[in-house]
């Protein structure tokens, strides 16, 4: 079984979010980019664990994006992916998912494992789109994943409990916290990443871009915090009850 791990590139969690060109473009000046944490910490690491346990023969990372994103791909190789693919294009989640589905189909991957959402666009749509394009089974928000022959067993937190699921391959899984633990790239892995294959693929024309961002608005902070004395808790309860009307 070969595992395909799609990775997104996102601004570092501490990055200052601002926009340029009349609020139509994300301002990437001075921003450090990282692999989307859900893709890296959970999906990629679990895929590598499966390979290390002899349950997968190969782990490939795939990224849809321009050349300047290659350092992010190299980081995934440093963490331990065997090889990488970069689809040389960019677009909305339908475009990205279409490219991933297309590559997976043409190259015999049977498990696609990615993060539940990106911390940049928070759509949580890519995994479902990929599954839809491929007409494969889909398990979203999985917190555990194991392989027993051709059957994948999974856990998923939902409705205040845990679903235990099983599915045959092929399968698309979106990973949530709990599936694996973040791995710090080993220095040896970083050195080895240099020589691992990174294939650049021209995007398929079958998957157009359907949506467009017209403009961004930075979030407004809250208005000044009302400080309440610790000896006057009743006042807080009263405010929550009569003013905020939340209790």
């Amino acid at each position: 079984m070969k595992i395909l791990v799609p990775i997104s590139q996102v601004p570092d969690t501490t990055a200052k979010i601002s926009f340029i060109n009349n609020d139509t473009t994300f301002n990437n000046a001075g921003v450090t980019f990282i692999i989307n944490p859900y893709d890296e910490w959970y999906a990629l690491v679990r895929a590598l664990e499966l390979k290390e346990a002899g349950k997968a023969e190969k782990v490939t990372v795939i990224h849809v994006g321009p050349t300047e994103n290659e350092p992010t791909i190299r980081k995934a190789l440093a963490i331990g992916a065997d090889d990488a693919v970069r689809i040389d294009g960019d677009g909305d989640s339908s475009f990205v998912a279409g490219q991933i589905a297309d590559y997976a189909q043409k190259n015999d991957y049977s498990l696609i494992l990615l993060g539940k959402e990106t911390i940049s666009y928070n759509s949580a749509a890519t995994a479902g789109l990929v599954a839809g394009f491929l007409d494969w089974n889909f398990v979203p928000y999985a917190t555990k994943l194991d392989v027993n022959g051709n059957t994948i067993s999974l856990e998923q937190e939902m409705d205040g409990g845990v679903n235990q699921l099983s599915s045959p391959l092929p399968l698309v899984v979106s990973a949530a916290k709990g599936m694996a633990l973040q791995r710090i790239p080993n220095m040896r892995g970083i050195m080895a990443a240099r020589t691992k294959p990174l294939q650049v693929v021209t995007p398929s024309t079958d998957f157009p871009v359907y949506t467009k961002v017209e403009s961004y608005t930075p979030a407004k902070g809250r208005t000044a915090c009302v400080m309440i004395s610790e000896d006057n808790i009743d006042e807080l309860v009263d405010l929550l009850h009569t003013k905020a009307k939340v209790i």
Binding site: P71, N186, M187, R188
Partner: protein, 597 residues
């Protein structure tokens, strides 16, 4: 690793030669791979060290050794070890980058630096093949931890006066060690100790590889220290400790040389670690200054605080500039020695030894920068700076040791001047010619020809040249007047050392910023230009003061007046609005809420 080849300049030659900006390595040019290695070290500190600082400082059983093992698992201990012994064989500059980052790790930084440095390198550089094969892979992986036993209760800076004795056993199979070692870092959990002792009545030390399990090795309790409380520091007693004869490291009486050469590396690495620690403190300081409000405004809005933030950044950036300039010089020297046919260990040692002056400069400047930054960090935190609940208190205490170990800063200052003078005597460094030229210039009419002012840094480069003349003036006069007694006039030696340190760091900073401007443009260089100018201005004042103090102590009459006039001429400055420059530097830190120079 993509390293910019630089033209070779020999150690100490910065005093008499000019360096082109293009020929130095600048941290602005780390490649993606180096940045990833750096990130791994940062992630390691964030995940494995920072959450446990209190537990580390309480010397929790097994914690530090597990941290060292985890570092080993990530390859952090194997950076400068050759591949054949399980290492990564990174170049010196890249290894320095990882040392710099790890330097922010408080006690864990000390444990890891001691392990990879003095704990591993004596065997790596001086061990025979069997010794290297046996110990190095396990040290590089962290399975075994290393330690180094040189200091004794009555032999600190004067290391060769140690009393620990080694005698050959009757059957000739063992050396029997007797004596006491003190301030031994990693003592509590190390598996392998490099121990220095004199065989019989030798004049000089020999070195031995001693394993923890050897009979007769006894550990005392943990020392109670001001800082780096989580670093295991103990006395070790050798009571008829039996060490197999094959564990003699290198040759008999070669130990003192080993000790000194290993210390050269330790010094520059300490300079690097100090930069990492300083950056972490600046980071905290900026964030706190932006968050803490007084009189209705963040304290980062006040000039007194901005001054501190700017000075923290200026000194750190300057020291870092010199650090990587020297590190690249060492790489180049080692590479050319290897090309010339020397084998790995010898080339490394020789290459580093060539830059022993710079290593000592970086030790002193790095540790004093860190102490300055930590002290002002406490001050920026105000009352919270004194509270053990906030990070400054630990940073302040932990910083202090750096001026003491790896040779006190006083010993290192003496060493800087001593090495320079010895090289001059041996003809390796032509100081006398330039010094005489300067003396000549004093009696001639000053050249009032204005500067071309065609290029951004024309004035500053001219200034650096004059500062070098100032040093040659003072040092030349000191050598001439005091002759053999100079080395005993320690105050004067300190003055000269301070001048040399300042000019090396100021020049390195200027060269770095010049290269940044040449590579990325003036706009991208931004406030770095201010940093170079402010540092140079302060260095100029310091050099004037050190030089004046020195001259006043051994010259008099008309000759003194003439020399002081000359010194003044070489340290004269054009006006610089240093307040506005510092404001710009501080504003960048404050607006970005981080140190990102």
């Amino acid at each position: 690793m993509a390293a910019t080849k630089t033209k070779s300049i020999k150690g100490g030659e910065f005093l008499i030669k000019e360096t082109a900006a293009a020929d130095i390595f600048i941290p602005e040019q780390w490649n993606d791979e180096q940045l990833m290695l750096k990130k791994t070290c940062e992630d390691f500190l964030n995940q494995e060290v920072y959450p446990y600082l209190d537990r580390i400082d309480s010397l929790e059983e097994g914690l530090m050794s597990s941290i060292v093992e985890k570092a080993g698992g990530l390859g952090i201990l194997a950076m400068n070890v050759p591949e054949e012994y399980g290492g990564l064989d990174l170049d010196f500059v890249t290894g320095m980058l990882t040392s710099e980052v790890m330097g922010a790790g408080h006690s864990a930084a000390v444990a890891i630096m001691a392990h990879t440095g003095i704990g591993t390198l004596p065997i790596l550089y001086y061990g025979n093949e069997e010794q290297k094969k046996k110990y190095i892979p396990k040290l590089a992986s962290g399975e075994w931890k290393g330690s180094y036993c040189l200091t004794e209760p009555n032999a600190g800076s004067d290391a060769n006066s140690g009393k620990t004795k080694a005698t050959l056993s009757a059957d000739g199979k063992h050396y029997i060690l007797n004596g006491q070692k003190m301030w031994i870092t990693n003592a509590g959990f190390a598996d392998v100790y490099t121990v220095f002792a004199k065989i019989d009545d030798d004049k000089k030390l020999s070195a031995f590889i001693v394993e923890r399990g050897y009979e007769g090795l006894v550990l005392n309790t943990e020392e109670k220290k001001m800082g780096i409380k989580g670093s295991s520091t103990r006395q070790i007693f050798f009571n008829d400790c039996k060490v197999p004869v094959e564990n003699l490291l290198s040759e008999r009486e070669n130990g003192f040389k080993i000790a000194l050469n290993i210390l050269n590396i330790g010094r520059i690495k300490l300079g690097g670690a100090a930069i990492g620690a300083a950056k972490a403190i600046i980071q905290h300081s900026i964030k706190y200054a932006n968050e803490r409000e007084q009189f209705g405004r963040a304290i980062s809005k006040y000039g007194a605080i901005r001054y501190k933030l700017a000075e923290q950044a200026i000194k750190t950036y300057a020291s870092e500039s010199a650090l990587y300039r020297a590190s690249q010089n060492i790489d180049d020297a080692v590479n050319s020695l290897v090309e010339g046919g020397l084998e790995f260990a010898e080339a490394k040692l020789k290459g580093i030894e060539q830059f022993a002056v710079e290593c000592a400069i970086l030790k002193v400047h790095g540790s004093e920068t860190l102490d300055y930054v930590a002290d002002e960090g406490v001050q920026i935190y105000g009352g919270m700076g004194y509270s053990a609940e906030a990070p400054m208190e630990r940073s302040y205490r932990d910083a202090r040791i750096n001026r003491i170990f790896e040779g006190t800063n006083e010993i290192n200052r003496l060493l800087i001047v001593d090495l320079i003078l010895k090289r001059a005597m041996k003809g390796e460094l032509d100081l006398m010619g330039p010094a005489q030229a300067v003396a000549q210039e004093l009696t001639s009419v000053p050249d009032f020809g204005g500067l071309g002012n065609n290029n951004l840094f024309d004035y500053e480069k001219e200034q650096i040249k004059k500062l070098k003349k100032a040093i040659l003036l003072v040092a030349g006069a000191a050598v001439q007047k005091l002759m053999q007694t100079l080395t005993k006039e320690e105050e004067i030696v300190m003055n000269i050392a301070d001048m040399a340190i300042e000019v090396y760091v100021a020049e390195s900073t200027l060269l770095r910023v010049e290269k940044v401007v040449d590579t990325f443009g003036e706009q991208a260089a931004g406030e770095k230009i201010d940093i170079a100018r402010v540092y140079l201005s302060e260095a100029t004042d310091n050099i004037w003061k050190s030089g004046k103090d020195a001259l006043n102590s051994f010259v008099d009459g008309d000759e003194l007046r003439m020399m002081l006039m000359g010194l003044k001429r070489y340290t004269k400055q054009e006006p610089l609005n240093i307040k506005e420059a510092r404001q710009r530097i501080a504003l960048k830190l404050i607006n970005e809420n981080k140190y990102d120079f």
